[in-house]
């Protein structure tokens, strides 16, 4: 057997090294390590926010400042108003206060910016980072630009952490907690929703994920990590002034995350280490080179980041792991699927023949173009309806109207007897409609089972906190068991743990079906599921669809492969130029001259 280290062993080695560090290192090095720890916490928040969630903030330093100033003011003020006086005595209470202040402001800023497309958030954070910095500097209460001191040290069980090597343990305890909770969170129901934010929002919404809420969650978590870092910083320095919370630090934090590898939690620590150590070194040599004093290291950092983004967009962490992997192989943790858990409760399917979907005169205009013109169709439980037509006939547009991805210009869509026109895809998904996409929307770097498990989002309810502290494991087992069951059902059991992006396109479409089935729908919308499949795979897919409809599920199918459609479906609707040109049994439609004309075309 090949020698491989378990990640747990590495973790223990890291903890032991950290524990021994203050005993062997000089005070100067301990100070550097303390700073690395403080910066790492902020950078971990940015990994979650930027690398994983696709949101960027240059204002993290301002959150650090909020944490720092809150505790500085509360622990030094001698004349706190009566209702606040009770917290004036302990930094631990002011940590709580700081977290509340920071979390609330992050929430309010998030409300304003998170609904906008991605680049407005970073611009907003630059602006608010600058505003807050000037505010710190101008408010008399906060000591102005010179700041103020006299801040007490943190005490743990009466033991005061006055020296660098004393607070060292507390800082790195916080860092490890941040790493572990972030890793836990990402490996959970909420975590999968968060990981879908980057490039998979439409899909996630269609699976019932509230993406706006997920964005808010990571924005607030990142701000809280920054706040804790500020709290530790102030009680280490015992002094506060606005300089470390300016926009330049906000930029530096982002550099750390991006340089280390924005998509990896450990990359944050690498980035913080590289930037901090380089900065110490450059600040010694550069002023000598240029013959004057100043922040010259930023020239170097700027150039370094440009080069790293040109050559390795993923940052240093992936390079580092592939290098060390050759020397010290680390075992990849294989996820275990527990088959014996109690299965998730499933929906009662409507009785066969019951009307599921009723679309009446649905019209969708894009400017002057009518993509869908007064199109009506209905799907009953246990029935397979095919929607066919040449390229550009408006089939996928019709799909988007029905599933709530888009809103029809006019017309009415009823699902399970309720009017769902104008409802969001999230609400419709909750009612029991699930879909696949014509242009496959999988998260290519996530494993097949994680992709499929996103489908089960609405069947669990464990939140962020239980995920962070692993109180969600029982539910998680059930969600994954359900995902595994559906993957096997569609015949991809062998690929459960491979990256979804490495599958052939046809197989990726099948993964989408498994994901849709995991949401336990009563109506399934499949957009060209058979494209790119081989004959036998198509037969297997047809078999599966027959079984599903026999169980009472309704299926609406957009397809081009007439062969596949004809032997399988109960009824066919044919579209051309956004209108229905034919409807009926497969054999009738096949002989309809209008259909032949639409498919083969003609000049005369």
């Amino acid at each position: 057997m090949k020698f491989e280290l378990s990640p747990k062993v590495l973790m223990i080695v890291l903890v032991v090294l950290l524990a021994l560090a203050p005993l062997v290192l000089k005070p100067y090095h301990i100070t550097v390590l303390n700073y690395i720890g403080l910066y790492s916490m902020v950078a971990i928040g940015l990994v979650l926010l930027t690398g994983v969630g696709g949101l960027t903030s240059f204002g993290q330093a301002a959150f650090v400042g909020l944490g720092a100033y809150t505790t500085a003011v509360l622990t030094t003020a001698s004349d706190l108003p009566g209702w606040l006086a009770w917290m004036g005595w302990s930094p631990w209470l002011s940590l709580v206060a700081g977290l509340i202040v920071t979390g609330t402001s992050a929430y309010l800023i998030g409300l304003v910016t998170l609904r906008l497309s991605g680049h407005f958030l970073p611009l907003g954070t630059i602006a608010w980072g600058i505003s807050l910095y000037f505010l710190f500097g101008t408010m008399g209460l906060l000591g102005g630009h010179t700041g103020f001191g006299g801040i007490p040290p943190i005490a743990v069980f009466g033991y005061e952490l006055r020296q660098g090597h004393q607070i060292f343990y507390l800082i790195w305890l916080f860092v490890l907690l941040a790493v572990i909770t972030t890793l836990n969170l990402l490996d959970s129901r909420e975590g999968r929703a968060i990981r879908a934010l980057k490039g998979g929002m439409i899909m996630a919404e269609a699976m019932g994920v509230n993406t706006a809420r997920s964005r808010m969650v990571i924005f607030v978590i990142a701000s809280l990590l920054a706040c804790a870092s500020g709290w530790l910083y102030v009680h280490m320095q015992r002094f506060v002034n606005p300089t470390p919370f300016g926009i330049h630090m906000g930029i530096e934090y982002l550099f750390m995350a991006v340089l280390g590898g924005a998509a990896h939690v450990w990359g944050a620590i690498i980035g913080a280490t590289v930037i901090t150590v380089l900065k110490q070194w450059l600040q010694d040599i550069l002023p000598a080179i240029f013959g004057q004093a100043g922040n010259f290291e930023v020239i170097f950092f700027g150039a370094l980041l440009v080069l790293i983004l040109h050559r390795a967009r993923g940052g240093l962490w992936p390079i580092l792991t592939s290098l060390t992997q050759r020397v010290v192989p680390v075992r990849a943790e294989q996820r275990q699927i527990d088959r014996n858990v109690e299965p998730l409760p499933s929906r009662e399917l409507p009785s066969k023949g019951e009307l599921l979907l009723d679309a009446r005169e649905v019209t969708r205009r894009f400017g002057g173009l009518i993509a869908c013109n007064r199109l009506s169709l209905e799907v009953r439980a246990g029935e397979i309806l095919a929607l066919i037509g040449p390229n550009g006939a408006g089939k996928s547009t019709m799909f988007n109207q029905v599933s709530g991805v888009d809103v029809p210009t006019s017309g009415k869509i009823t699902f399970l007897g309720k009017d769902v026109t104008g409802k969001t895809s999230r609400e419709i998904a909750r009612m029991g409609m699930s879909r696949t996409f014509q242009h496959v929307k999988l998260l290519p770097t996530m494993s097949v089972i994680e992709n499929v498990a996103i489908g089960a989002h609405l069947r669990g309810n464990r939140g962020v906190l239980s995920a962070a502290w692993r109180l969600d494991r029982q539910e998680e087992k059930r969600l994954l068991a359900e995902a595994a069951k559906q993957i096997e059902r569609v015949g991809l059991g062998d690929y459960m743990f491979v990256e979804a992006g490495s599958l052939a396109l046809g197989q990726q479409r099948i993964v989408e079906i498994a994901r849709a089935l995991t949401s336990d729908p009563c109506l399934l919308l499949l957009d060209e599921p058979a494209a790119g499949l081989r004959y036998k795979e198509k037969q297997a897919l047809a078999e599966l669809m027959r079984k599903l409809s026999a169980e009472g599920m309704g299926i609406l199918l957009v397809e081009h492969d007439m062969d596949f459609v004809m032997g399988l479906v109960d009824r066919v609707v044919v579209m051309e130029f956004g209108e229905k040109i034919s409807e009926g049994l497969p054999e009738e439609v096949q002989k309809d001259p209008a259909v032949l004309q639409a498919y083969l075309g003609g000049v005369e």
Partner: protein
């Protein structure tokens, strides 16, 4: 506040607003054509102002070295790839623009009695030095990852910005400069005094805005830039390469930046890092226009200028806080009027 003070403040606000309007137009243009959020715009302002200040004081402008350095790197990068592609004839052209030009300029600047030159020539020299850095910057920083997501390009911008600020400190030192005004005239119009420089700033901004409008509506290169902004794929099929569009856009942005710096430096003391704040105010205006509308951005710029000058009167300590917090209500308004969900990447 009496009418006189209000008029002075209003005049200040409009003068600064005119500069912010120019910058906002450049930011909208760069974003529309290249999807780059051009944070280093402010550095071009500072480089323009401070290069002129150095020339005025008879020093050899240190930015000349940056132009030469960037030119060498571009020549190497483009030259090697041209030779690899078997187009060694192109190397002459590449070296001509990126290497020979800076060298000739260097010789010219070296030999001229900088301090004694007329102001117009000094300004021209400043533009000749600073503006070519725009396209070079596009080539070195953005072109290799032109298809990257907006956020990656934004991080690139920030990286370029901090590097340029650092270099600015090396080139110009920590002291601020104010250059001599284009005109010392003072006019009395009713109850207020208007300085010649104010009129210079406002008129030049107007002329430049009109010139830009003509460039975009009348010339084929201007139309090509608009086409790239509207439909990059379609433009590419017409032979308008993203590289050409990018360089042309950055040329214009650098020109606008350097010109703004030259115009504003007689009014405001410029430090090596002042550009960032000036550029960001242009940004606030550009955001008001949603990074897409030129007229709204220009109107927003005037608003920012007026807000800044009036708040410096009422609450001078909170001037910057007030200007930058303005972004928040603007973003609220934008978020309430945006409904569709956008897929990033």
């Amino acid at each position: 506040m009496d009418l006189q003070i209000a008029l002075i403040l209003g005049q200040d606000g409009i003068t600064n607003g005119a500069i912010y309007a120019l910058l906002a137009l450049a930011l909208v243009l760069v974003f529309a054509v290249t999807r780059v959020i051009f944070i280093p715009q402010g550095e071009f302002v500072a480089y323009g102002a401070l290069t002129l200040a150095m020339i005025e004081n008879g020093f050899f402008p240190a930015t000349m070295w940056l132009l030469l350095g960037a030119g060498v790197v571009v020549t190497l990068a483009d030259g090697v790839s041209a030779i690899r592609a078997g187009q060694s004839r192109k190397v002459v052209g590449i070296a001509g623009v990126n290497l020979i030009y800076p060298l000739l300029l260097l010789a010219l600047v070296w030999s001229l009695p900088l301090r004694d030159l007329p102001l117009a020539v000094q300004v021209l020299l400043t533009l000749l030095i600073v503006v070519p850095m725009g396209p070079m910057m596009y080539r070195l920083v953005y072109q290799p990852i032109a298809d990257a997501p907006v956020l990656v390009l934004l991080i690139m911008s920030i990286a370029a910005h901090v590097a340029m600020v650092g270099l600015g400190l090396v080139f110009f030192g920590p002291e601020g400069y104010r250059t001599s005004p284009f005109s010392n005239a003072r006019f009395e119009i009713g109850p207020m005094f208007v300085t010649g420089q104010t009129i210079w700033v406002i008129l030049s901004s107007l002329v430049f805005i009109v010139a830009l409008a003509l460039f975009f509506s009348k010339t084929i290169y201007g139309k090509a830039l608009r086409a790239t902004a509207i439909n990059p794929n379609g433009a590419r099929l017409m032979g308008i390469s993203p590289m050409l569009a990018g360089k042309l856009t950055f040329f214009l942005a650098a020109l606008i930046g350097a010109l703004s710096g030259v115009l504003i430096s007689p009014i405001t003391t410029i430090y090596y890092d002042t550009g960032f704040l000036i550029g960001l105010k242009g940004f606030v205006a550009a955001i008001i226009g949603g990074l897409s509308s030129y007229p709204i951005a220009a109107a927003g710029a005037l608003m920012v200028g007026l807000l800044e000058s009036f708040s410096s009167f009422w609450a001078s300590a909170y001037k910057e806080v007030i200007v930058f917090t303005l972004v928040i209500p603007v973003l609220v308004w934008r978020s309430l009027t945006t409904h569709h969900m956008e897929e990033e990447e």
